[in-house]
Symmetry: C2
Subunit: 207 residues, 2 copies
Amino acid sequence: MTDRFIVGLLGAMAYGELSAFERLSSDARFSPTLQDRAALGRIAVLEFGHFESVSDALIELGEDVESAMLPFQSSVDSFHERTRPADWYESMMKAYVIDSVSADFYQAIAKFLDPATNSLIERIMAADDTSSVLQRRLRSMLDDDPRLASRLALWGRRLVGEALTQVQRISQENGFIPGISTAERQQLLAGLSRNHSRRMSQLGLTA
Amino acid sequence: MTDRFIVGLLGAMAYGELSAFERLSSDARFSPTLQDRAALGRIAVLEFGHFESVSDALIELGEDVESAMLPFQSSVDSFHERTRPADWYESMMKAYVIDSVSADFYQAIAKFLDPATNSLIERIMAADDTSSVLQRRLRSMLDDDPRLASRLALWGRRLVGEALTQVQRISQENGFIPGISTAERQQLLAGLSRNHSRRMSQLGLTA
């Protein structure tokens, strides 16, 4: 386990959370009701809280937050460019897919990390009901308008494809988890994809 | 003092804060450095906190937050449409002008309100260093690039003009403060304008 890997991991997380915050709060404006706008805003604010926790961790390690984030800026930005939601429904789905795939990813790699980083990641990821709030809202959207199902199923597939590519790209830039074998790595990615399919099925969507 | 006036006032504040949150966090993306993005994001998150405090106050009064905000949605939205910042510098100036003019406005009308609403507004507006953070950042921007001064001075003038029109429009929609005379009202608006000029001068800008 090298320190550089941890700094890179935290830098990627920090930039990911900061971008998620900005994208979600911009998308909030297109919500169908003011109540939904407030709900999406609240989720964005939680992401900003994550960004601040990760930043604090980097500062504690004596690292400069900006320098840690910079190497990941262009790939995260281009991920967002490739996955611009066409409307509020797609924003909600995107928030849900990204939130849950990243949580899964961080959980999956946690076992390869030293105990301190492991518990840091647990702390950042825990105590946050973003995923269940989004899931409930998506479910009620789909109940209200079943015609959304095929469009959102397709969109979910595209998102998870891009998200997995993103995980691989960032991991390559940062050096994949030190000490992980090719088999373990394939297993990890297959696990992310499987969990995603399960979540889509729970929403009644074909993954 | 009628309850409807208070509900209207809180509704306007709530929608104003929610919109400010969304606009600021969208604009954050165009910041020159990641550090500035984080700083603008942090200010946006504070605005969201204000929105939540005002929402809580409305709920305590037994009011529906969404219904209280709705009457002000189109005028606030059109204010933002008319004052779209062209770049990050203009975003910062807009944030500063709106934040300080609204704080002044709420403070100025506080004396016409009942003690409970008065202290609620004090609570929401206090304990927040948004204005001084923005002022410091604007000052250092102007030091770094003095050519910005004339553009930002012009922009500041337009913003305050629009903001005062906005205050009058919202006040008319909501019925201006009950019991206030025409002279007191003119005085209030003149005070807002005077404070703005003083702040612009402090930045070395011609108001």
